[in-house]
Each structure stands twice: as structure tokens, then as C-alpha cells.
């Protein structure tokens, strides 16, 4: 197994957002700023890595037919852990991500990796896979968040670089759809030429 590939494929080639188009809800929902995108991405990464590790550890102990509920419990547990810790240690971020933290649990990417990868591979590859996928997700969310923040708020990671009004709509709902739409078109194009 090529560990490097396990790790990097999630970043670019199989980027969960731009290429696999998974987890669109949080992608669109939390990316009004770059920080939110990054925060959500990291939270998801944490869940992904941990659940991948655990799933990979216990994969042989779980009968096939309860695989899915078992995985759900595992994932939901880590989500809850993230929820509680964020509430405790980064309450501000927790509030702005709101509903979407518990929704990590239904993000297809998490279950998909547990089911599709971790349940078949060893712990180390699974961890790498989770990390790669998670960081790919975080990267995508951060890019989307940055673009929206720059266009819509005239700032980058909270630092304002322009006076006056930016194009407000980009931090609102329609902007999320539109920016993501064009980003995906752009990535498709880049992938094709590359």
C-alpha cells in the first residue's frame, strides 16, 4: 500500500467536495468565512481520523449485518465528543457552526470512508486515509470560505483589507451556491487539462 497516495488522494484527486461532491450541506452552510470553513473542516477531520482508526481496529469483531449501525454509533460518539469539546473550549466557533456539527454524523464522507476504506484496511492506512480526506475537506471548505469572505466581506481570515462595502450577497445563501458552482466548474476544468 502506498501510504503517500492514501494520504494525498483526498487532498486533490479525490477531494470530497470538489470531486466527489460529498457533504454539500456543511460545505455550503458554514463557509461564510474562512475561519468557519477551516473549523468545520478540522472538526470533520478529527471525526474522520478517529472513526477510521476505531473502525479499522474493530472491523473483524463486527458481524457484517450490523456494520452500518455499529459504524453509526462509533461516528456519532466522536461527533458528540467534538461537540462537547468545542462547546467547552471554543464556544464562539461552536456557536457559529451551530447545527452543522451534529450533522457531521450524516456526512456521507465519514460513513463512506469507514465503510469503504477503514473496514477493509489496516489501522495506519485508515488513519492516513481519514486524515487525507479530512484535510481535503477542510481545504475545500477553507477555499470556499476564503473566496466568500473576500468577496462578500472584504476580509481574509477576519482581516479586513478594504474599506467600504464588499459584495454582500457572497456571504449570504445565494453566494454560497454560486461560488461553489463556479469553483467546481473551475476544478473540473483544471482536472481535465492537468
Amino acid at each position: 500500500m502506498n501510504h503517500v497516495a492514501n494520504f494525498t488522494k483526498g487532498l486533490l484527486k479525490e477531494n470530497p467536495v470538489f470531486v466527489l461532491l460529498l457533504g454539500m450541506c456543511p460545505t455550503l452552510g458554514v463557509t461564510s468565512t474562512a475561519v468557519n470553513g477551516l473549523g468545520m473542516g478540522l472538526a470533520t477531520t478529527f471525526v474522520l481520523v478517529c472513526s477510521n482508526i476505531v473502525v479499522s481496529l474493530v472491523k473483524n469483531q463486527i458481524p457484517d449485518k450490523v456494520r452500518i449501525p455499529a459504524f453509526i454509533v462509533i461516528i456519532a460518539s466522536f461527533v458528540t465528543i467534538v461537540e462537547l469539546s468545542m462547546q467547552a473550549f471554543v464556544p464562539a466557533l461552536f456557536e457559529s457552526l451551530g447545527l452543522f456539527i451534529p450533522l457531521i454524523v450524516v456526512n456521507c464522507i465519514v460513513l463512506g470512508r469507514a465503510e469503504g476504506f477503514a473496514s477493509k484496511n489496516n489501522v495506519f492506512s485508515s488513519a492516513l486515509d481519514g486524515l487525507g480526506m479530512g484535510l481535503g475537506f477542510a481545504l475545500a471548505l477553507t477555499i470556499l470560505g476564503s473566496v466568500r469572505e473576500v468577496l462578500g466581506n472584504g476580509s481574509f481570515f477576519g482581516m479586513r483589507f478594504m474599506e467600504g462595502d464588499a459584495i454582500l450577497i457572497f456571504v449570504l445563501a445565494p453566494g454560497a451556491f454560486i461560488v461553489l458552482g463556479y469553483l467546481i466548474a473551475l476544478i473540473n476544468k483544471l482536472r481535465k487539462t492537468a
Binding site: 462595502d165 459584495i167 454582500l168 450577497i169 457572497f170 449570504l172 445565494p174 454560486i178
Partner: protein, 344 residues
């Protein structure tokens, strides 16, 4: 002898063409254009020119460099979009914002879908709503009309009659009171007063508002021209305006203190512009006359709802855009009656 041409029937073609239709619309917009030049002066020309040129350039660039297909900017549709976008913004809008509007109209709302005829939404309105949401300040402060001619400075801005009325009613005053007595307030030690213009003024265009929406008469003139040239049919404008009158009339009869009379709805704001020029865009409206009636009706009802209860003082743009979204469903639901289906 030159080579014979071979093609399938029919071998003759009617005399209408996309170009003729589009330039027909441009001609129909001239009266409104003149009125806005009269009231807003050179600014009107400035905004319109920038908007049209920006639209043309964006369309040209996308066709040439992104789609890499034939360039069709001469078909006139981008010009129509440009003028209508300009008609939908205040005359003192900064150049950058106009250009953003043109990019959104043509780039996002039209060319992303493949260009002329493919867009489900009205491009000029997408541009306008985009700007309205993004730049609420700039998009909702209008220079007072006739400022250039009456010697006042441009800096003074006045609200639209609709916006003003809505605010005042929200503040607890009755409609009559506002209409008759106007309002006045003191800000930074200066006395401001605002009197909602009379119907004649509103008809002629002597009121605050976007470039093209100020004169109902000029717009109707354009509409009659388009009807005469068979560019549009009566269905959408009549259904639209009719339903606004009926719906707002019912509300008015229920409580004239809160709800202003239908006549006011008719002449104020962008209703005429929307009903005559924007809802009738054939690309984004239903194809059958029955569908067009339903479309007009939907636009009318939504316009009144948004005007009266919504956050925005003006509902025409949103109403048309929302109904645009329903057009595929309307077209799908209202198939023409096939020949032979009526036979018993």
C-alpha cells in the same frame, strides 16, 4: 450557372427575426429613456451607456474566450439586457457596481446557461436583485428627480414613494395621512420633508426611483409599440397589472388605513417596467397564452405580497424571478391542446 441550393421545406420564411425583435424592444424603450434623461440628466445616459457596453463586452469575452463559439453580440439581446439593467438601478450608481451588475446579468444569469434563450431566469433582473442584495445602500437611495432642472443639489436623495409609504405605515401612521401630509423629520439639525408625489407626477415620471421606472406613461407607450409590432402579446402585462389591481384592491377595501389604494400600486415603483418589459421576456416566461396568464397572475400576487409584507419596499423583481422558476413547471403542465383531442 451557380449551384442550386438544396434544403428541406419550408422554403420561405416569415419576416420576423430575433434581431428585429430585440431592436424592437430597444426602440420601445426610447420614450422611457428620454423621460429619464429629462429627469436625471446626464447621469441617465452615463448609467445606460456603461451598462450596455459592459454587457456587450462581457458577452463577447465569454463567447470568444470561454465558450469559444460564435460571437453573437449583434443579435441585440445583450443590449436589451443592458438597457433594462440600467433602467432598474438608480441614476447615481457608481460605475463599479454597474459593471458588477452587468457581469452578473450576462456572465452568471445568461452565458453560464449557454447564452441567448437558455437562461431560465431573466438576466437583467438577476443582475438587479444581485445588486440590491449586495449593495442595499447604493441601490435604495435615489437622487431626487428634476434635481438638475430645479437647481437643487444632487446630493439630496429621496426615497421612492413605495419605500416611504411602507416605512411610515410601519411607524404607525395611516395611509391617508402620509399621502396627504407627507412626512418631515429632523436630522442633524436639518429639516427634511417628503411629500409623496401626486398621481400625475408619478405617471409622468416626477418621482424618485430607478432610471426606467419613473414614468408610467412612457413605459405604456413602449408597451403599445411592442404590442403593435407583435413583439409581445397582451397576456402577461394585463394579467400582471390586473392581478395587482385586484389583489391590492381587495386589501384596500379591507382596511384603507394600512393598505394603499390600487392606483398607487399601479403607478408607483417598477410595476409598469416589470409588467411591460421584464415579465414579457419570452425566454423566461411561459410559451402558451394560458401559461402567460398564470405567470402574470403569480407575478401580480407576489408583487403585492412582497410590497406589503416583505422586507423590500419593491416586489416586482423578486416576483418575476420567483415566477421564472415556475415557468418550466407551467410549460410542462399546460401543453397545447393537440389537434383531434377535442373530437368527441
Amino acid at each position: 450557372m451557380n449551384l442550386l441550393t438544396l434544403s428541406g421545406s419550408p422554403h420561405v420564411h416569415g419576416d420576423s427575426s430575433t434581431k428585429k425583435i430585440m431592436y424592437g424592444v430597444v426602440i420601445a424603450m426610447i420614450p422611457a429613456m428620454l423621460v429619464s434623461i429629462y429627469f436625471f440628466g446626464l447621469d441617465a445616459i452615463r448609467v445606460t451607456l456603461i451598462s450596455v457596453i459592459a454587457c456587450l463586452i462581457v458577452e463577447w469575452a465569454i463567447q470568444k474566450y470561454l465558450i469559444k463559439g460564435p460571437v453573437t453580440i449583434t443579435d441585440g439581446s445583450a443590449i436589451v439586457t443592458g438597457v433594462l439593467l440600467a433602467f432598474n438601478v438608480p441614476s447615481n450608481l457608481p460605475i463599479v457596481i454597474i459593471i458588477i451588475g452587468a457581469i452578473v446579468s450576462i456572465g452568471i444569469a445568461k452565458m453560464s446557461f449557454g447564452g441567448l434563450g437558455k437562461n431560465p431566469f431573466n438576466p437583467a433582473l438577476v443582475g438587479r436583485v444581485f445588486l440590491l442584495i449586495s449593495f442595499p445602500v447604493q441601490m435604495t437611495t435615489w437622487p431626487k428627480p428634476a434635481a438638475l432642472f430645479s437647481g437643487l443639489t444632487d446630493a439630496v436623495t429621496g426615497p421612492t414613494p413605495l419605500g416611504h409609504l411602507k416605512e411610515a405605515v410601519k411607524a404607525g401612521r395611516t395611509v391617508q395621512d402620509v399621502l396627504e401630509n407627507g412626512s418631515s423629520w429632523v436630522m442633524d439639525g436639518v429639516n427634511y420633508s417628503y411629500q409623496i408625489p401626486g398621481y400625475v407626477d408619478q405617471l409622468m415620471g416626477n418621482m424618485g426611483g430607478s432610471l426606467g421606472e419613473v414614468s408610467a406613461i412612457a413605459l405604456i407607450l413602449g408597451g403599445i409599440y411592442m404590442l403593435y409590432r407583435k413583439i409581445i402579446t397582451w397576456h402577461i402585462p394585463v394579467a400582471y397589472i390586473g392581478s395587482v389591481v385586484v389583489f391590492s384592491g381587495i386589501l384596500w377595501m379591507i382596511n384603507p388605513d394600512i393598505y394603499v389604494n390600487p392606483g398607487f400600486h399601479l403607478v408607483a415603483g417598477g410595476l409598469m417596467l416589470g409588467a411591460i418589459f421584464m415579465a414579457t421576456d419570452m425566454v423566461s416566461s411561459p410559451m402558451s397564452w394560458k401559461g402567460q396568464l398564470i405567470f402574470g397572475l403569480g407575478c401580480g400576487v407576489l408583487t403585492v405580497i412582497i410590497r406589503i409584507w416583505g422586507a423590500y419596499p419593491e416586489g416586482v423583481s423578486f416576483a418575476i424571478l420567483i415566477m421564472n422558476a415556475f415557468v418550466p413547471l407551467i410549460n410542462r403542465g399546460l401543453k397545447p391542446k393537440r389537434f383531434g383531442e377535442t373530437a368527441k
